[in-house]
């Protein structure tokens, strides 16, 4: 009885993952793919938890933790890259943000943002 319920839960998770993968394949934009990837990871976390409940162990708990901590990094990176690529020398593009590669630009923007914040706090 309980095992049947677990199979049903697993099937629903699988369906959700298939839908997310569909969106990753279809796109159309990179942002859609990142959103779908985000959702895929969230579903994966839930599914891992379900598996732990079913087989009564806690071995994958650290995996859950690491996924929860780092899943957003890729999304943030891509979002930054997309924003910068779209407005070369945009209204607020300062110093390193406007020029160069995506990585260099992102790092420059980051540093600039930190400087403004600390500068303001020091007033």
């Amino acid at each position: 009885m309980l095992q049947a319920a677990f199979v049903l839960v697993g099937t629903i998770f699988f369906a959700a993952v298939v839908l997310a993968v569909f969106r990753i394949v279809r796109g159309p934009s990179i942002l859609d793919r990142m959103i779908a990837t985000d959702m895929l990871v969230a579903t994966l976390i839930c599914a891992l938890a379900a598996e732990m409940v079913q087989h009564e162990h806690t071995r994958t708990l650290p995996v859950l933790l690491v996924l929860a901590m780092t899943a957003f990094l890729a999304t943030v990176g891509v979002a930054r890259y997309v924003t910068q690529q779209d407005r070369p020398g945009g209204p607020q593009a300062e110093g390193g943000a406007a020029e160069g590669s995506a990585e260099g630009g992102a790092a420059g923007d980051d540093a600039a943002a930190h400087d403004t914040t600390s500068g303001r706090a020091a007033r």
């Binding site: 309980l2 319920a5 677990f6 049903l8 839960v9 629903i12 998770f13 369906a15 959700a16 993952v17 298939v18 839908l19 997310a20 569909f22 969106r23 934009s29 942002l31 859609d32 990142m34 959103i35 779908a36 985000d38 959702m39 969230a42 579903t43 976390i45 839930c46 938890a49 379900a50 732990m52 409940v53 009564e56 806690t58 708990l61 859950l64 933790l65 929860a68 901590m69 899943a71 957003f72 999304t75 943030v76 979002a79 930054r80 997309v82 924003t83 779209d86 407005r87 945009g90 209204p91 607020q92 300062e94 943000a97 923007d109 980051d110 943002a113 930190h114 403004t116 914040t117 303001r120």
Partner: protein, 142 residues
């Protein structure tokens, strides 16, 4: 019915809720027409689904250490999910990845238009709202 069986049933119910939320998110992500709408669909399993799954785990936990390990998982997800949501939302808006015909109101576009109009009138650089570079993404909670 014993206490253990009740806990098992409770766990399965919470897992069901998490699974259904994930499925609804999957349907939303396929059905919604633009990235910003899809973003809303994707945030659901991230928070409530995760809470449900963690509660299901907590009900099965034998000791306090396992429950304690669940807290940082939720804390990290709650701290980081809005960051990625905001970054994607911002990128989506700025790069015009949204269907304007599906918007009832767009007060950000109004504000940007107004800033441009004012700038043209006074012959200065437009004072664009929202386009400040310091974001709330790097500030941890106290």
């Amino acid at each position: 019915m014993s206490a253990a069986e009740l806990l098992d049933a409770g766990s399965v119910l919470f897992l069901f809720a998490a699974a259904l939320l994930s499925l609804a998110a999957g349907i939303g992500i396929v059905r919604f027409p633009d990235p910003l709408s899809r973003m809303h669909a994707a945030t659901k399993p991230q928070i409530l689904g995760l809470v449900c799954a963690l509660v299901a785990l907590g009900l099965q936990a034998e000791n306090g250490a396992t429950v304690a390990a669940l807290v940082p998982i939720l804390a990290f997800q709650m701290l980081t999910a809005p960051v990625s949501a905001h970054m994607v939302g911002r990128a989506g808006y700025r790069t015009r990845h949204l269907r304007r015909d599906l918007l009832l109101r767009d007060e950000l576009a109004d504000a940007i238009d107004k800033a441009h109009a004012d700038a043209a009138h006074h012959d200065v650089e437009p004072d664009l709202p929202g386009l400040v570079t310091d974001e709330d993404t790097s500030t941890p909670r106290p």
